[in-house]
Amino acid sequence: MVETSNLAYAYENGQELSFPDIGLSEGEHLLVIGPSGVGKTTLLYLMAGLLLPSKGKVSIAGTELSSLSRREMDKFRGEQIGLIFQQYHFIKSLNVSDNLSLRQSFPKNVNDKERRNQLTERLGLAEHLHKKVTALSQGQQQRLSIALGLIHRPKIIFADEPTSNLDDVNCAKVIDLLKEEAEICKSSLLIITHDLRVMSHFKNKVVL
């Protein structure tokens, strides 16, 4: 599902960072762990096609990202990739339900209400559908962020530090939730973190 080879990224200051090859098959879960500052987020953005590598290749679901035009890349990312960010990003002018339905609408115009209801039910957001996103608690925002990464049934979910702001109990909960949801939509899951508490939850690990 995800394969990288000889991936390297050149920062604006000329410093180049190389990454170990990563391979992840369909439906598999992988943890990429490493201390702060080794370019974990950069690696994630490279894999999501948000940054262009200076060297090496990324291929996702058999498609080599460098072969896609900018426009194709946008579409491909929108359809195939679910991103869960370290900082929560929402559209603040929309309520919870509209944020989810917006995510469904692009790039393919889907309006699957049942999917939204089921997902928010499982993530405990069902009663908050019509709340403004800014009115949600930290934990609710975390779960909405996860929901936004999953709602469109992506082939691969990239999660960036999904547990960094959470206590031990919630950390375990969120990891379980992610694994569970990934399994339900048969997505591959790649988590990038420096959080050692997550280690024990995954068999497949890459250490940066």
């Binding site: 987020t41 950069t42 953005y45 999501a48 948000l50 940054l51 426009r71 946008d74 579409k75 491909f76 990312r77 929108g78 359809e79 990739i81 991103l83 960010f85 370290q86 900082q87 990003h89 929402f90 559209i91 603040k92 002018s93 929309l94 509209d98 339905s101 917006l102 995510r103 469904q104 609408s105 692009f106 790039p107 309006n111």
Partner: protein
């Protein structure tokens, strides 16, 4: 979900920004459309009403007032002229037609105009129902009068003295009867009750033998400015303003003492001797045996008349000639500079509102940088993000324009209500005009420019960096 919905939510998510932008935009739009409609409709209305006549001959005074009163029926007359003198003008070789008009009474504020049937032809007024008047005290009613007063064929009414509803008392021994109702003409005729000249004379003329004590009352001296005379109910023709200033103040005091129950008084020839005896100082000034009219509406046969006759009349007679076209042009010229000033102000506000849209978009685009980056990860292309900003700008422009347009029309409606009550003229609430669509186009262009200027950062958006910067 459509981008349009998101653009709309984005727009309303900043209510204060929205309010300011909309306020500025709608203010400028309403100013421009209101003033334009008002001047167009007034100008159109005026020109339509003066079109049938080239010249008005009336008593000396302000030419504008003469035109306003005799042609447009919105001001009080300058006074009366002798029918005999007017007839001389009618016969002038340059004159095609000269129509005498006489008035001074109203029915609930609608003017009763005594004139010849030819007057109706000049305004292309046709009967909706009934027939034209033949005898005195038979009336054809303008469409608006008939509608507003609910007048039907065969109805009769009693006129009141003066030109406004509240003035004077009823001439209740001379009821008018409706013989016909005219089709709407879109001219001043719609606002008039039209009868023959004799009715006006006769309404003010009654058995002098029975009412000799009224002989002292001399209608011609009344100046219309003298409101205190209106209450006594004796006097009428207070429109008559003569060059001479008579000492009639005392006369009125005198007649107010009399309680002879007469609302009218004679105007006729039979009365004048006694009259003159009572008022010796007026003897030479007035030839009461002559019938009087308020003015003569003239259509020239040749354009030469336009050049020669007015000067001739003004210099050689006690009457004055006014050219409606010239007077209305003068009036519109005065209005025009006001219109231009207001348009200038509106344009300035429009530019400021464009600037405010630009600033508010620029601000929201900057504030929403992260949201825009998020949308890029959802698969939206740069072009779609531009579209989002563009839609927001366009929504603002459209709503602002619509609000402003409605506000402008509301203003026209308000003025129309006022004018209806005061002058009997109503303005139309027109649909969008070509110029207004042009204005809308201008605003959309302005909004587009504002959006494009504000959207620079969308092109340069670094998605990865923006998402990582908390």
């Amino acid at each position: 979900m459509k981008l349009g919905y998101l653009a709309f939510r984005n727009m309303v998510s900043k209510p204060l920004n929205l309010l300011l932008s909309l306020l500025l935009l709608s203010l400028s739009v309403s100013l421009v459309t209101f003033v334009l409609q008002l001047s167009q409709q007034l100008g159109g209305q005026l020109n339509k009403n003066i079109a049938p006549f080239d010249m008005v001959v009336g008593a000396k005074g302000s030419p504008l007032q003469l035109v306003l009163s005799s042609v447009l029926h919105i001001d009080v007359p300058t006074g009366n002229i002798k029918l005999e003198e007017a007839a001389a003008i009618q016969k002038h070789p340059f004159v095609q037609t000269g129509i005498p008009v006489s008035y001074g009474d109203n029915y609930k504020g609608f003017r009763i105009l005594g004139t010849e049937l030819e007057y109706l032809d000049h305004y292309n007024a046709e009967l909706e129902e009934g027939e034209l008047y033949e005898n005195s005290f038979e009336v054809v009613a303008g469409s608006n009068v008939a509608q507003r007063m609910g007048l039907k064929i065969g109805d009769s009414f009693v006129s009141s003295h003066g030109l406004a509803a509240s003035e004077g008392e009823a001439h209740d021994d001379h009821p008018f009867i409706i013989k016909g109702i005219l089709k709407p003409t879109g001219t001043v005729v719609d606002q008039l009750l039209i009868t023959n000249l004799e009715s006006i004379w006769e309404a003010h003329d009654h058995g002098e033998d029975d009412h000799e004590e009224e002989g002292h009352e001399h209608e011609e001296n009344h100046e219309h400015g003298e409101g205190d005379h209106h209450e006594d109910g004796h006097e009428h023709d207070d429109d008559h303003e003569h060059g001479e200033d008579h000492e009639h103040e005392e006369d009125h005091k005198h007649e107010e003492g009399h309680n002879h129950g007469e609302k009218e008084h004679e105007h006729g020839e039979g009365d004048h001797h006694e009259h003159e005896e009572d008022h010796e100082h007026e003897k030479e000034a007035h030839h009461e045996e002559e019938k009087e009219i308020t003015s003569l509406l003239v259509k020239f046969k040749s354009p030469l008349g336009m050049v020669q006759l007015p000067r001739f009349i003004n210099e050689n007679t006690s009457m004055q000639a006014a050219l409606p076209g010239f007077e209305v042009q003068r009036l519109m010229g005065l209005l025009g500079s006001g219109v231009q000033t207001i348009n200038g102000i509106a344009l300035a506000i429009l530019l400021v509102s464009g600037l405010s849209i630009f600033i508010s978009l620029l601000k929201t685009i900057r504030e929403r940088k992260q949201e825009l980056a998020l949308l890029r990860t959802y698969g939206l292309r740069t072009r779609q993000l531009l579209g989002l900003a563009f839609l927001e700008g366009i929504f603002l422009a459209l709503i602002g324009f619509l609000l402003g347009w409605l506000l402008g029309r509301l203003g026209i409606w308000g003025v129309s209500q006022y004018m209806k009550a005061s002058y009997g003229y109503a303005l139309q609430i027109n649909g969008p005009e070509v110029f207004e669509l042009f204005l809308l186009g201008l605003i959309l262009v302005l909004a587009t420019i504002a959006t494009l200027l504000a959207s620079g950062s969308i092109f340069k958006l670094n998605v990865a960096k923006t998402l990582s910067d908390a």
